[in-house]
Amino acid sequence: MQLTATTNADLAFRIGEFETLTDGLDYAAKGVTGCNFFSPRGKIADVLTYAEIRQRAVDLAVRLDASGLKRGSRFGLIAETNASFVVFFYACQYAGLIPVPLPLSINLGGHESHVTRLRGMIAAADLSAAMASVDMLPTLREAAEGSGVELIGSPDDFYGLTPVGGDPRPFDKTEACYLQYSSGSTTQPRGVLVTQRAITSNGRAIGQHGLRLRPGDRATSWLPLYHDMGLVGFCLAPMLSQVSIDYLATSTFALRPRTWLKTMSDHGGTISFSPTFGYELCVRRMANSNGGEFDLSRWRIAGIGGEMVRPDVLDAFVDTFANSGFDRTAFLPSYGLAEATLAVSFTEIGAGVRVDRVDRDAYERTGKAVPAPRTTPASSARSFVLCGRVMPGYESEIRNDEDQVLAERDIGRVCIKGPSLMDGYFRNAEATRATILADGWLDTGDMGYLLDDEIVITGRRKDMIICNGRNIWPQDLEWAVESLPAVRSGCAAAFSVNDDHDEERVVVVVECYVNDPEKQQELVKDIAAIIHRTAGVHCEVVLVPARSLVYTSSGKLSRAAAKTQYLDGSIRLLHAEPAGPEPHLEQPRLAVSAGA
């Protein structure tokens, strides 16, 4: 099998100059570029040019329309990294249906929580149809039971529908495009409704300004297609600029991270993105190598996004792969979020990772990022990575809790404005009001400051936990813990604490009503086990005496207060195991600024 070409010799390179996804695909289909899918062992498994993708999508769109699905209804797609997902996503565009990418799960014993999560999304999106591969179909059916989804099947089931009577009409530029579930808890998932205008404007800005695409560019990705960085960054935006993509499944990368580098090396990938975590995994798995077996010299943009950028990890990556010709200036820190479709800012290409070193004491006490003199010892300084200026057409402001705009180097809420902001969360006016401010700006939920107009992220105000590149909603952990018979409802608080390397560690504080020390030990074990089953992460369990912590007005343990007390050591412990912050942990500044 031969991979799709990198460059269209006979078709003009048009970077995102389209107003709908189908306009973009109609154009890309005139060329020879497309998508390539690799097997878990890194062999070529499937190759489709954009022409073939379009042909299949248009054919399927006729069948979907003939099946009687109403225009604008939602179509769930379990987002495995394969040709079916891509074809179905575009078929929905031609048929006027809103695709909803749905997540996979690779947690040990995580089947139950996966089904629960899918069930929540199926209900929130009010799906009319859903597709999964033959392997995943039983899970999808289990999750959709009793939900009223009209059509559920494998790709072949849908390809086998009759085309008779189908007359699909693609989405026009004023309509919706897809629904993205990337935030919110399991039982209250929040779907970002992305419009044609949002996706095409973001795709254009990414291609023309963020990445400055040029002939010869080739994308490589293992990012999950149910996340914005994978879907927008490495499926839709490349298509809108006729760029070929080489895909690995996320699980392939997780198992054998070197497959990522080998694919880039073998097939000349010039652009790939990953959270810091991905670069770290590569280093971790290169123990028995001099790092020189690849040719990474063509890798011109090694993007970083999705979680806090950790410079020391990236330094280790550079050291490990210097022999493979990896150029440290290829690193491109970026900032974005699903609520803005994907990208908001990129650093200048070729600038690499730049760090602002600030005085730790001022940062913690006054909320100001004061530059630390060169002589400041590491223990008194804190380093943050610059994430670039917002793209043309976008604006950024740092605001305080009273919505006043702050000065440069003052830390506050990062707010943005631009053409690709969501109109709101799907059928969730309350969550929308909390995010889209009255003046039309988006409150990102992140904390940070501006430095010469560049965005610097210092942490999150939102409670979401990000562990090993995955988003974990604390509510889900708390509910799981509270499902244990020995734990009372509303008596658990889950949060993460950052260490000095900006890695997050999960802590669960639980009020304990059990007196027997042996039973308490058992409870600690049970809590750790259920957290593990729910989210696949280790956690520190902290048992505290009943009614010793602060409650919110709704009678729920306050996460922010529990975290503050945990960090400053004022929390009362019940069990004998050592708990509380280790000496190298960050002081509670973030928790304080997070408010209650």
């Binding site: 995943m136 499944a249 696949g536």
Partner: protein, 81 residues
Amino acid sequence: MDKDSVVNELCELLQKYNKEGIELTAETKLGSDLDVDSVEVMDLIMEIEDKFDIDIPINLVSEIESIGDLASLVFKRLEAR
């Protein structure tokens, strides 16, 4: 290779994840008893694939809770080879 010997080989392979030195049997839960995290799971599966020369479909991992579950899966993949 029968299923019991698969269990034995897996227990041997799992020793290095056995931080607390508990007794490993087919009933041992990988998550709650051994506390194998999401990154270690990937290390583990890769080792199993290499050791037994099989491919483990990653979709099936969420159904695995105990060493016995894992052994059944390995056994099935060995037979399917």
